[in-house]
Symmetry: C2
Subunit: 659 residues, 2 copies
């Protein structure tokens, strides 16, 4: 029993979906009202799994690095997103079916159709048909493109593969051109689609009783960090680097979400904004992660139409310039460690670099942690970008707030430079309304320009051109240009931002896929091998039956586990112990303890481990002590087997479950 074969059955998405639905990990929201695409409610195990993921996230990032946590509002007045660029650019390209008016996301349409053609080609060349992976939760609406076994020219296959490798790099007009070139129509109706149009993904609303303030629901938590930058800096005693962190809800009005938790209209994010000196992006703890080796897919490889990854240490990646700087590399490594810690399969995790057109124009470098799953293939679950000084700069420009760091210089900087000193009266009298523009034009000159002007003025009137192109004649009576000495003891700069941004729902779904398997002897008996640290419930307490004589023991064991801070759950429902264990295997509960007549007589208790189904026995005290150590992480199951005696009632109980 102790050897476990988790791969006896191939992964079955429909079986997993049925389990998640049956055990209420999550379900379509407003289901009794017919549901709304892209909105999901989390039930008790889903909520607990999410809460545990977030608790680990806080420990791993916020506590470990003393980040400053924030909680800012979702509702946001329009000017904020005008400044940030979201009103103009936070959009996807959509196309309309010219026949029935259905709206589709342009890139998803291209991907679906070309992938189906490639699958059909493979089939025509003799491969087994590709299994459809329709989810149980959105069966009705699933419009997986049908595969037809048609062989393609080798050159066409290569072209399609190249298009798919760089799909994220195409603009709307380019997607439109691709659809025309490759005769891509709406597979649902067979109708042609129109030209791609931009659709802004923010949900709009308005604030106040007279509707006077247009607002949006934030599509990310980031702006809340940037707007509070000055307060955060002050809280951190004026020093950089520091990071703020926030866990919160965000909203995106996705065009036609049909991918379960992978693409939703409302979701929980966890975001970090690490503010750093643009001249020094080293990281004090980089040496702790330099040897971490991970799988990278860089932008050059993708731009060449390839998707070949390579293993590299973070140290080497930063040294060779694959990853832009130490701080970005540090966070990539920390993200990697976090994902493995909570149970993501290392073999289905890679970091993909954004391509030139894909990346925001201001960003320096950006890497996505992609997790492979049956719904979205390699799916972005965490983004990690160096956003340079973009965000603080646009908000400062819009509001006039000084979003800068002021640093006392150890040695004052002394420099001599030319300055213009004006006779303001003469200036105003001569140029009237243009006086401001004229003085601005002069002050915009560099050192050489100023010195040249000084020379010209010594000769007579000198021409100056203002920003709007008009020319004026300056005379030496209006201004004197002199070289002066300046001493600066403060350096002022706009910090750069490194932003790791986590989509919690996507990570949670991938984790469920990676954790799911069926018992070798019975494909119907599903198990979620969630790591103890994130499992919704740590310990199941099972009294043999609901008889009154077990009650005091159930209460004692519950209370002692609760006092130890362990989330346990009693299942005294009217069904066999084996069935109750099987139900909790589906819930991912790692340990179970059983109270029976022997417990009443001898104060013994059995302890069962989920994956192996092996059972141990000991005194109630010894078992509780062992459980506390197992849950606390100080003990593994092999060690627990050395502490407590094996229990041979195990066969009977498990056999009963299979009956």
């Amino acid at each position: 029993m102790a050897t476990v074969n988790k791969t006896a059955h191939t992964f079955d998405k429909a079986r997993l979906d049925a389990l998640l639905n049956r055990r209420f990990f999550y379900a379509p929201a407003f289901e009794i009202y017919g549901g709304v695409a892209g909105l999901y409610d989390y039930g008790p195990p889903g909520s607990a799994l999410q809460a545990n993921l977030l608790a680990e996230w806080r420990r791993h990032f916020i506590v470990e690095e003393a980040m400053l946590e924030l909680d800012t509002t979702v509702m946001t007045p329009a000017p904020v997103f005008e400044a940030s660029g979201h009103v103009a650019r936070f959009a996807d390209w959509m196309v309309k079916d010219t026949g029935n008016g259905e709206v589709l996301r342009a890139d998803h349409l291209v991907k679906g159709v070309l992938q189906a053609r490639l699958d059909g080609d493979k089939e025509a060349r003799g491969a087994a048909p590709v299994a459809a992976a329709a989810g149980a939760d959105d069966k009705k609406k699933k419009k997986k493109v049908k595969t037809v076994a048609v062989r393609l020219e080798d050159a066409v296959v290569a072209e399609y593969e190249s298009i798919l490798a760089q799909l994220d790099n195409y603009s709307g007009p380019e997607l439109g051109a691709l659809m025309r070139t490759h005769a891509i129509t709406n597979p649902g109706s067979g109708n042609a689609v129109g030209e791609p149009q931009q659709f802004n993904l923010m949900f709009a609303s308005s604030i106040g009783p007279t509707g006077q303030h247009p607002g949006f629901l934030r599509p990310e938590t980031a702006q809340g960090h940037f707007l509070n930058f000055s307060r955060l800096l002050e809280f951190n005693n004026g020093r950089v680097p520091f990071a703020s962190a926030q866990v919160g809800r965000a909203f995106r009005n996705e065009i036609s979400p049909r991918a379960g938790l992978i693409r939703v209209r409302e979701f929980t994010m966890a975001e970090i904004e690490h503010f750093v000196d643009p001249l020094d992006k080293s990281h004090a703890r980089f040496n702790e992660v330099a040897d971490v080796e991970l799988v990278l897919l860089d932008k050059y490889t993708q731009a060449a139409g390839q998707s070949t990854t390579r293993r590299m240490t973070i140290g080497a990646a930063v040294k060779e310039g694959v990853i832009a700087n130490e701080t970005l590399g540090y966070f990539v490594a920390r993200i990697y460690a976090f994902l493995l810690h909570i149970g993501i399969d290392e073999k289905r995790l890679r970091f993909r670099q954004h391509m030139a057109n894909e990346m925001a124009h201001y960003a320096t470098d950006c890497w996505d942690a992609e997790i492979q799953n049956s719904v979205g293939g390699w799916t972005e679950c965490v983004g990690c970008a160096d956003r340079a000084a973009y965000d603080l700069t646009v908000h400062a420009a819009r509001t006039g707030a000084a979003l800068v760091v002021r640093q006392a210089l150890k040695e004052p900087v002394v420099e001599e430079r030319a300055v213009a000193e004006w006779d303001k009266k003469a200036l105003g009298k001569t140029f009237k309304g243009d006086a401001g523009a004229v003085s601005k034009a002069v002050e915009a000159l560099d050192e050489a320009g100023l010195m040249r002007l000084k020379g010209e003025l010594a000769q007579g009137p000198a021409k100056i051109r203002t920003a709007d192109g008009k020319e004026f004649a300056l005379e030496s009576t209006m201004l004197a240009i002199e070289r002066k000495t300046f001493k600066t003891s403060i350096r002022e700069f706009t910090p750069n931002v490194i932003e790791p941004s986590f989509g919690i729902g996507r990570i949670l779904y991938c984790l469920l896929e990676h954790s799911f398997w069926s018992r070798e002897q019975d494909v119907e008996r599903g198990v979620l091998s969630l790591p103890t640290v994130v499992a919704p419930t740590k310990v199941l307490i099972v009294p043999l039956s609901a008889r009154a004589e077990f009650e005091p023991l159930v209460r004692e064991v519950s209370l002692r586990l609760r006092k130890a801070g362990i989330h346990a759950r009693v299942d005294d429902s009217n069904t066999s112990i084996g069935k109750r264990y099987a139900r909790n295997d589906e819930l991912g509960t790692p340990f179970g303890v059983t109270l029976d007549f022997a417990s009443v007589q001898n104060r013994t208790m059995t302890l069962r481990e989920r994956d192996t189904t092996t059972q141990l026995i000991g005194s109630i005290d010894a078992v509780i002590e062992t459980v506390i150590a197992l849950v606390g992480g100080g003990l593994d199951w092999a060690a627990a087997c050395g502490r407590l005696a094996a229990y041979d009632g195990v066969q009977a109980v498990e056999a009963e479950a299979e009956a």
Copy 2:
């Protein structure tokens, strides 16, 4: 030093606001954009305080009672709120200034003006003027009604007091009548105001790319529980009672919020929906709370225009019918215990019963936990209502989903009752399109009615009136009425809902007010005496200076506290230890440890307590052990003073702070 006088200075709201702003507990959101009324961001201490409050809430309610936690969406399609009644009734009464168009909340206007007149009367009768309590965070917009010392007739005073005592009981038209009778105008402009109009408080948006699905942001989390009722019931193995619980964001488009955290447009709620058999609202753990004594203000007292409270035990209140049932009483007591546990002042806490018109028409009984504060007076912070079967019934009616509990009866119920058996053919032939209405009308008859009809039919044709008032003649050929025996082994019922609903921001603000005081020797030295369990940071680690030799010790102490799960923070900023302690008194940090040259030489460390400012000294090991016990709650400061030696460096350090 060990005796502390927390009431040496009278409470100063402006001073508290300045502290909260300076230490970034919270601040107006979008401040650099000019802010938006009713939206606030929480900074690091505010976020941590809120997180700790919620962690205690989860422990106190969810863990203690094994509630089922949910996480449902904010975005909600319109039909849900049409069914729930929110589209029609979730509104406040507003009035418009007839001159400048300003929008005011009708009840707030009446309250403000009458209260100012009463204050003016008191002043005219010789009392000291009432201090204005404008908040620093919304100074600009604060429109506190100005008090003028005018003496009122005694009868008028009595009338105003009676109106204020039952203010929540008035409808919009009644408020309009009050404004006319008492010549209430907009105090800001002196203009008359129009008739009260309803304004729906839900933020509207629309879902999907073509705007086809109108939606609202939830104004409470409750509907998410009700819509998932069947899944929750199944998760709980089909049994009631059980409770679901949810912590989440909610949104209300308040008319003109000007009361800081007391009235906001976006807030965090914590809600419980306890589903219970309508025939049995006893609670299994009621005996644990029966002796809890608390302060009640019942509906009869208020309806009589009084606000006299009385102390009562929960046991007596339920027995005497003051509180409707045991389950409602149990939750009132649990709410009370929670609020005291997190630090609310018992003397500023009462439970007020809703008056007849104030309560939703379907509700059985409703009690608000009101906490007294300087902004809103006695302010509802938790509601606790018995909502009967309303919510499940309206959603079941709208969707056709069976939101019921099916309970196997121990003994099948056998009953004999009359039933009509139809000759469907004859019925249809005679009444055609009305056949359905006719059979419905007969089946709606009670036992006596059916037996009367049987008698009439035996005589000849009998008249029956359908629901829409038409009359038809029935004949004995169409139906036979017989008494038959029925055996039922399943009882089906819609459970009732007891709903405790917490406004976390309001509780948090009241807690800050109740925790705030200034040191006797210096009013400028503010302290937040937050209980350790909710304090944002538990321990401040203070190295004497930022010198390198303290670094290893700082790291060691930090790491050991972090491993023990204690949230500590290092402050190595370039300022005196006294100033750093003073800053942390403002942050509510209960303990501080100092590392100095003695620490390096002898491995000793001092430990300071926030409220008394007393300091102890011991080995680093002993101090850490003591701190762990203090934070864990197993030790109080008096006991800690018995464990470690007093430190007499204390005077020097504190004196320095005052310098």
